[in-house]
């Protein structure tokens, strides 16, 4: 059961963007909850990954010390960001890379498009990257006549299925093997006709499909997991080898990096290369990690362009409370333990960043523009159970941040001329509770609640405005007697 209290009242359609869905979370969640297949797939996937993570974290005696180091490193990074970025830029440039800066998605997309055009190609290969999804790069390139081919298996499934990702790490987590086979048969021109739904056969079909592109592509686009200020080194962690293919074989590599991905020193990798894989895929180490510094003559791409992306990150940075959301290393551990995410899936959040961290990060990046903004509903997409904090490798206090953002959503609503249901209910409650006679009268009315409740002592349907509550949650039937009645009966003096 999903929980959202004090739902903002009015919703206007917002312009769709990779960081903003068309529907407020409660409506989108209701749509997703109707999909039984989705819930089965998600329940299976999240439980598998949760137990894998728990096993490899439990075997680390210094896990909490690593988390403390990771959290402190990120705090330092945020406060030294200008100096670290300048140092990073100087080192990338000194090693033959070209650094570009982009204030927003539009500017980043334009720079990438110009760089691709300069190479005279109309197809590029891509490493799975949240930054490029956040700016809608594939769509922008497509509008400019450039095909961007996703090479991560899950991203390929999403791309061929004309779908959107629903998980940071496992974008096709909402699809099962039969759905994947059907997508491949319908959309992959070179899929074998006798393709079964066995995961191994599906992976091999993807291998064949992408091999030709890897070997022939001149331009690749990647994101990055880390950028090391001290050395100008960039790192991409992955499993399949598609990342290595993209950052190794083409002549030109274009990397889009959020400005928060900086780490001060190469030594800091000793912390993050332990925290990330264990938190993310539940592995001791991901199969492949590629680290490169500018251009290495004779090895790998000989043209390297790095785009440093703001796109709302400085908004988040300016917010002293919300700044911690920028510490996120996109491991997705918080998604896999979240009871709300497990039932609604990623699409309900409307943003490329779903789950608990998405509910914090998305409104930080875009701002919450009052109750008309669907992103104002995201801080309510949580039961505040705290599991997300427990698993976060850099100890982001996600529940605290959600509560803070809820407070702001309510505050932003205070200026309304027409009071909403919440205000009206609170005012009515205040009037009743401020007078003993009125309160006693109201208590008598509670008996009616027992009539509404079914045999299981739960009220499942109330007329409006009570329906705003009972639409998503049962309400327990009132007790047989009130506290004051009980007191009178048991205290005779």
């Amino acid at each position: 059961m999903s929980t959202f209290l004090g739902i903002p009242r009015r919703h206007a359609a917002q312009e769709e963007s990779p960081l903003r869905g068309a529907l407020p979370f409660p409506k989108a969640a209701r749509r997703e909850l109707a999909n039984d297949q989705l819930r089965r797939n998600l329940a299976h996937a999240t439980s598998v990954i949760r137990s894998k993570r728990a096993l490899v974290v439990d075997e680390m005696p210094d896990w909490e010390a690593l988390r403390d180091a990771g959290a402190a490193t990120k705090t330092q990074v945020m406060s030294n960001l200008p100096a670290l970025l300048e140092q990073f830029e100087a080192n990338v440039t000194a090693r033959g890379g070209v650094v570009h800066w982009a204030t927003d998605a539009q500017e980043a997309n334009r720079i990438v498009t110009e760089l691709v055009r300069a190479q005279g190609v109309d197809e590029v290969i891509k490493v799975k990257s949240m930054a490029t999804q956040e700016i809608g790069l594939n769509e922008y390139l497509e509008d400019n006549g450039i095909a961007a081919v996703e090479t991560d298996l899950a991203e390929l499934i999403v791309q061929l299925g004309h779908d959107t990702p629903s998980h940071i790490l496992v974008p096709a987590i909402h699809r099962n093997r039969t759905e994947v086979r059907d997508i491949f048969l319908a959309e992959m021109e070179d899929a074998p006709a006798d393709l079964t739904d066995e995961p191994r056969r599906l992976a091999m079909a993807a291998r064949e499909h992408l091999r030709r592109k890897f070997l022939a592509s001149k331009v690749a686009i990647s994101g990055t997991n880390f950028g090391i200020a001290e050395t100008g080194t960039i790192g991409v962690v992955e499993s399949e080898g598609n990342g290595r293919m993209c950052v190794t074989l083409p002549e030109t590599l274009i990397t889009v990096m959020g400005i928060e991905k900086i780490l001060p020193t190469f030594t800091d990798l000793e912390v993050f290369l332990q925290l990330l894989p264990r938190s993310s895929t539940g592995e001791r180490m991901n199969p492949y990690t590629s680290l490169w510094t500018g251009v290495t003559p004779g090895d790998g791409p000989q043209n390297f362009h790095l785009i440093l992306l703001d796109n709302g990150r400085t908004n988040a940075l300016a917010d002293q409370v919300g700044r911690a959301a920028l510490h996120c290393i996109r491991c997705s551990a918080c998604l896999n333990v979240c009871p709300v995410y497990e039932r609604t899936g990623g699409h309900a959040y409307g943003s490329v960043y779903p789950g608990p961290i998405g509910a914090v990060l998305t409104p930080q990046l875009t701002g919450m523009h009052g109750h008309h903004d669907v992103n104002s509903t995201l801080p309510y997409a949580s039961s505040l159970c705290g599991a997300c904090y427990d698993v976060c490798p850099v100890k982001i206090p996600i529940p605290d941040l959600l509560v803070e953002l809820r407070g702001r959503a309510v505050d932003a609503d205070r200026g309304r001329t027409i009071p909403g249901g919440w205000d009206a209910a609170m005012k009515a409650a205040a009037w009743i509770m401020s007078d003993p006679t009125r309160f006693a009268a109201a208590e008598k009315g509670l008996a009616a609640g027992r009539l509404v409740a079914g045999r299981d002592k739960k009220i499942k349907h109330l007329p409006f405005p009570g329906s705003a509550w009972t639409h998503t949650k049962d309400m327990p039937a009132p007790p047989k007697q009130t506290f004051r009645q009980w007191w009178k009966e048991t205290h005779h003096e």
């Binding site: 210094d62 690593l66 406060s79 096709a172 399949e240 290595r244 895929t281 199969p287 680290l291 300016a318």
Partner: protein, 212 residues
């Protein structure tokens, strides 16, 4: 104003209200392991981790190396090597009639040419027992990143003293500006119902010889 100045300006004003410096980074996690590099417990841990992710692994003595290379490459017909690989390893790889190609001598192989070669044999720079990770840095015997990526079979010759216990010990041994590839492979995906499938784009088989 350039976008660079705009972004840096936004960051500076975002941070302007901060006056207290952040606390220092606590580093009381385990940096040096209980066991020295190449010690029997470290080798045992490394082998356990490699087996766990389905790499093939054998522990051998130096005099068994040539035979072990030949055996590991049994099903491979063609092999690519870095130009500076130890001639003894190259000679062992050439046994049983295998075709050897040396990348860079006389020409640097194209990706398509690499794709037609079955296997690659390399050395490594450092390995981490705790996570079963092998690191390449393009040093002697390792070659360009492409040669360990495109062929479907990767045989790595590790020397015991190259295997350290912890991640920090390995990071300390690396030169950051070399092109680095960390391998805890073979290539694998878990994208379909979280079921692990070994082998997608990188080498589908990883074979490791640990020379004691």
């Amino acid at each position: 104003m350039s976008s660079r100045e705009t972004v840096l300006g936004r960051i500076r004003s975002a941070l302007a209200a901060d006056t207290t410096p952040p606390p220092p980074i606590p580093r009381d996690y385990i940096r040096v392991g209980d066991h020295p590099p190449g010690s029997p417990p470290v080798l045992e841990l490394m082998i356990d981790r490699l087996v766990d992710y389905k790499a093939h692994v054998r522990e051998i003595t130096p005099d068994q190396l040539a035979d072990a290379i030949d055996t590991a490459l049994t099903d491979q017909r063609s092999v690519v090597l870095a130009p500076d690989l130890d001639p003894a390893i190259a000679a062992a790889a050439a046994r049983s009639g295998r075709t050897l190609t040396t990348d860079g001598t006389p020409t640097v192989l194209t990706p398509a040419e690499l794709d037609r070669i079955d296997a690659v044999v390399t050395t490594a720079t450092v390995a981490i027992a705790l996570s079963g990770t092998i690191t390449l840095d393009g040093g002697p015997g390792q070659g360009r990143r492409a040669i360990t990526l495109v062929p479907d079979f990767h045989l790595v010759v590790l020397h015991a003293e190259q295997i350290v216990h912890t991640v920090p010990e390995a990071i300390a041994r690396l030169d950051p500006v070399r092109p680095l590839t960390m391998i805890a492979g073979p290539s694998a995906t878990s994208d379909i119902e979280l079921e692990r499938v070994e082998g997608v784009h990188g080498p589908r088989t990883l074979s490791v010889l640990i020379v004691r």
